[in-house]
Symmetry: C2
Subunit: 715 residues, 2 copies
């Protein structure tokens, strides 16, 4: 092995190698070039050298020590094995000599015009676990580092994990645990555990290399042999990129905050295309602003009207008196550019572009034009192709949809209008308290990271849920998420998870969907709670603000229905939660309240025929014992304890505990006749996340809260 981790990399050496390759117009580095780069970054590789003759190969092998591997070195041969250019396990001078001749001969046959620099002679790696470390350039997140076990596990089972480059040592160690076959690295079938520090160090080094040199498109160390004694990369493949994409315009956190505050808390709104005609979008927007009770100024802009809904109309937005914070566009796409110029000249900082007919219908030039105009004037664009937005705490309903006024803690955004409507209907029927609902549409400018930045600071917002099909700037999103997550949970529904979904997303918004495995790992790395589907996103958004954060891992199930206890236990495991091992004294304490044939342990099965007092006593005990951190309740409808009796006693006991400073998440599954629906609504309003006819949803909500608490560093 050569090189050491922890030293500063030799940037100059890498620059020289890359310059030489570029000078020759090559995008594939040779093995000796790969070795120079590995050495520069302290990536351990086997001792090796380049032989230009059979004699030279034998001399090299003698020096390095047998057995050796030999590989063709040619800038023109990428797939060395296919070219018959690889021989391994050569144990004698004669074998090395024969191999040299054969490899060069094979190469000549395979690619007669290839330049052959010679044959690499390399010490055979010591046996160890074969792993793969590499970096790729993801279209959404840029440089990411990948890790997996070699062979079938990576190629067939896709058991690979990704992190943003550069990866910290902590990131790298989390990757070793992030593959399904993680146990292998800890030693199985009597094998030794691999040197985790060395392996993590290798991952860190490779990720730094990719980060330091954006022109390196791909690094592939495969195989790396990892053992108890260390790691060694037996092969290194480096690919260079062509052109680098231009960096996206960056706004500072302060700039974003200022613009978003004026968008979400405006004092004056102009409606371009306001109309008196029912059924027109410009009429709906005006009505919603007025009927929603917006206390600021509302200025209709319409050259053909004197007044709209009783308010003075202006021919141009430039005629509107005073500062305007937001211009809502309710005019056809073809008129947007001209009106946006006016908005820019008026110095309005935000344009909300409801119209469709831009990139989503193939009109890319039109969208580019408005982005250029906005950029020139410093106007931030929301949309185009959106339903508008709600900012409930400011009584702002700048949308053509129906108004929504249940103020609360959840901020929701959606890339698609259809999903926005589903958000609205769900929120209304579940009485979910909302701080904002924002349509993002084509995301020509304002996107999730801008809104995350605002919502992170917004005191009304306690939870953020975002539906998205792509991220325009994955890095900016991750940065914003990392700022936000320690303060409040961020739920993401990433549509286009599957190949069919990604294809549909392509037809829908022209979004270039990155590999979902990368999304999944990077979103987790950013501390985001990923919802598997629309309904889960909505339910998490509804439930998370209701639940206090857990302070520890010990979950206890208290159930009147043994059958629910079984299903709730399954759900606990499915959601990565831990059923507390109940200590003997606590077990005895529970047993005092339950029938002798009830089961303590966990679930605490109080049995079905019990009166309200049994539920009450056991729930109180669960709340009061400081070793218990969260409660999952399983209610069974009986005549002895009807649903509303259970709901009232549970809400009361939870409220009493809260008054005494005991805040624990409590979720409930109610099995019973239809009265349990009312009982669930009652409980939800009082801070207990309760669902009828399901054992999965309450535990999934608790699981989401735990995932957030872990990401926020609370556990």
């Amino acid at each position: 092995m050569t090189g050491e981790n922890g030293n500063s990399p030799d940037l100059t050496a890498v620059r020289e190698v890359l310059a030489a390759a570029r000078a020759e117009g090559r995008t594939v580095l040779t093995a000796p070039e790969g070795k120079r780069i590995a050495d520069a970054y302290g990536i351990p590789v086997p001792e090796e050298g380049l032989a230009e003759s059979a004699d030279g190969a034998v001399a090299l092998a003698d020096r390095i020590g047998f057995p050796v591997a030999m590989k063709i070195v040619s800038p023109d041969i990428l797939h060395k094995t296919d070219a018959g250019g690889v021989r391994v396990g050569l144990s004698s001078a004669a074998a090395v000599r024969e191999a040299f001749v054969a490899i060069v001969g094979n190469a000549r046959t395979y690619a007669p015009d290839a330049r052959v620099d010679g044959v690499q002679v390399q010490r055979m790696a010591e046996p160890g676990q074969e792993v793969l470390v590499g970096t790729v350039t993801d279209p959404t997140f840029g440089k990411v580092v990948a890790f997996g076990l070699g062979g079938v596990l990576v190629e067939v089972l896709k058991d690979v994990t990704f992190r943003l480059a550069p990866a910290s040592e902590e990131d790298a160690l989390s990757m070793l645990d992030g593959i399904r076959a993680a146990e292998v690295l800890k030693g199985v079938r009597g094998g030794d555990a691999v040197d985790r520090t060395a392996l993590a160090g290798l991952i860190v080094s490779v990720s730094r290399l990719a980060h330091d040199f954006p022109e390196i498109a791909e690094v592939d160390l495969n195989p790396v042999f990892a053992s108890a004694g260390g790691v060694v990369a037996a092969d290194i493949r480096v690919l260079l990129a062509g052109e680098q994409p231009a960096p996206r315009r960056q706004w500072s956190r302060t700039e974003i905050g200022t613009a978003m505050r004026r968008l979400m808390q405006p004092r004056s709104v102009a409606v371009i295309g306001a109309s008196n005609e029912q059924g027109k979008i410009g009429n709906s927007v005006m009505r919603n602003l007025v009927d929603g009770g917006f206390p600021g100024e509302i200025h209709p802009v319409n050259p053909k009207a004197d007044d709209i809904l009783g308010r003075k109309a202006y021919a141009s937005v430039r005629d509107v008196p005073g500062d305007v914070d937001v211009a809502v566009f309710a005019i056809p796409a073809k008129f947007v550019a001209a009106a946006l110029e006016e908005v820019g000249r008026k110095g309005i900082p935000n344009a909300v572009l409801i119209p469709s007919g831009f990139a989503e219908t193939g009109e890319h030039a039109l969208q580019d034009e408005i982005v250029e105009i906005a950029g020139r004037h410093g106007v931030r664009l929301l949309g185009p192709n959106i339903y508008g937005y709600y900012s409930t705490w400011y009584d702002l309903c700048a949308t053509f949809c129906t108004p929504y006024d249940v103020k609360g803690g959840v901020a929701l955004t959606s890339q698609s209008g259809g999903i926005g409507m589903a958000i609205l209907g769900f929120a209304r029927t579940t009485k979910t308290g909302v701080s904002a609902i924002v349509g993002l549409g084509n995301k020509s400018d304002i996107d999730e990271d801008d809104l995350l930045t605002y919502f992170a600071d917004d005191p009304h917002t306690t939870c953020i849920a975002m539906h998205l099909e792509d991220l325009k700037d994955g890095r900016a999103f991750v940065a914003a998420a990392r700022e936000t997550v320690p303060r409040k949970p961020v739920v993401v529904l990433k549509a286009g998870r599957t190949s069919a979904g990604a294809k549909a997303a392509g037809s829908h918004t022209g979004a270039l969907a990155g590999d979902d495995a990368v999304y999944d790992d990077v979103l987790r790395q950013a501390g985001v709670i990923r919802a598997p589907g629309l309904n889960e996103m909505l339910e998490y958004a509804r439930a998370l603000p209701v639940l206090p954060a857990p302070r520890g891992d010990n979950v206890v199930i208290i159930t009147g229905a043994g059958g629910s206890g079984v299903l709730l236990s399954d759900a606990i495991v499915d959601n990565g939660l831990s059923l507390m091992e109940i200590p003997a004294d606590l077990d005895a304490a529970f047993r005092r309240y339950i029938p002798p044939f009830g089961a303590a342990g966990n679930p605490v099965d109080i049995t079905g025929g019990e009166p309200p007092s049994t539920y009450e006593a056991t729930i109180r005990l669960g709340l009061e014992d400081p070793r218990i951190h969260a409660l999952v309740l399983g209610y069974w409808h009986t005549i002895v304890t009807p649903p509303m009796v259970f709901a009232e006693l549970t809400a009361r006991v939870v409220a009493e505990a809260r008054e005494r400073g005991i805040e624990k998440p409590v979720v409930a599954s109610l099995a019973g006749d239809t009265e349990v629906e009312e009982a669930c609504a009652y409980l939800f309003e009082r801070g207990v996340v309760a669902y009828p006819y399901t054992t999965e949803k309450p535990v999934a909500a608790l699981g989401a809260k735990y995932r957030w608490a872990r990401a926020a560093g609370l556990l």
Copy 2:
């Protein structure tokens, strides 16, 4: 290789080997014994022999051919590797000699008292893919055969698949595709595909061996080397069982049918413990029978009353005039045995045991006693520890819960009372048409296979959904499911999937939960649709009878919301469905109806602003084109096409098609404000499975229907 598949196995040879081992009190067979068994069943093993001296070993190796492997042969040494009893890759006479001495020496050190029969000398297997084939005795399903790739894939990733033994060749071939790493067997990284016929043949042979000899507890062929040239089992380990469990009492299909018909379609019911006192179970049961409108005879039995709810009460069930089909027990557990004797003497064929206080509270003796009494009199027992049962088409509500009278096609059973109550509430709130709801409780006698047998023949029942924590007789269940599935779908919620859930199930009903992986594979093999959770079981039960069976794999999404289209596409993949590749003429046909910027292809994105006529034309086209087999609709709430307008037009177009003989499953996801809830209910009642605020549920229901159609052989 020795032996050949397809020949009749040499049962006598196996009997001799087993008898010899039993005579010595051994449960572990030696390697030579294993080889004899392998030969008897045509299981290919490497050439080998037993050496009793170093010279003998060398002679054997010379005859077999180098390289060889050598293994200690001792009935007392199970873990040969741990004992230093295995050496591989021996290429010379000297090496074989040295190995013999070392192996025997190691064995003496490892287990000084072990009997050492010698050392097995075995030809090294040709390289190939390492796989594992074995059989185990599952507590629920008896003999099952297991298959997986060797090493890490089995040990760490648990990538193993199971089938009932004996397995057919078709079963065995499905196992090769049933592991996650199935692709490996087809050849990856330039490797050849393995000989699938030979590998399947090996699986069949091993499964037959386990089936033919129930006293063989376990067979473990590990590793088996599979290559393009064939298969060879390098090691065979056979474990014998101690005592065999007594076979469970078997009823014929006719016997079951007769008893179940009298249970589910009774003409006369006695209520033992009937009461006039409100709040008593015996009162609730009487009221529900009377208020439910049961048209047959209802006979209260209560020695302390003259009449109950205006009906003559009898001191004993034996005093009741005429034949009685069902005796419902509403008395405490301690009085059940005596009353059951009376029931038996009266010749009543069914006892419905509501009381708890039997095995579930540890009173096993009491339960054994009633089972004995029932067995003696030929009385079938439902329960104990149940809420009773509903048979809606016969207006029978023999339960202490609230009545349910929405007649329909779904039969539901639950092992737990809590889950039964959830079934009731869910059914009522969703207006699910039900043929029966049955509590199974402790399943002292009647269990899922009895009820499946009845429901399979019941013309009212079109779908069966069962919640269970265990199966008393997995084989009988599979047999009943196989009879039923070709006629109607069977949905199973198996609680206790996870280790925590299984533990909770243990505390709940004393059920011995088998390995969930075995359950999962065997239930799939039986054609059962497994619901992942309670809510899914309920939703599948509600949706499956509504949907016609698909006639082919081509699913088309028609959506007004592009965002829904993306999520629906994800759900299509998640549920194992296929988005149709739309042919050019069909694409052109769709394009005639949608705006130029809409996307044809699949999803067909008609875009959000479209009038009802666009939905109507595209849905009609989707129904009429015979190449399309199922439709998934994505609705987006707009002023132009409000929810009920969409619902009405969709229901109308579907009904029109149905009148013309076009029956295709149609499911819909409605994104919009709360009016979509009413629209979904309207659609559901008219044969379109529709859900608000979710893109997952409608596709999951369609996926369940497809799984059934495949299992039923319709696709």
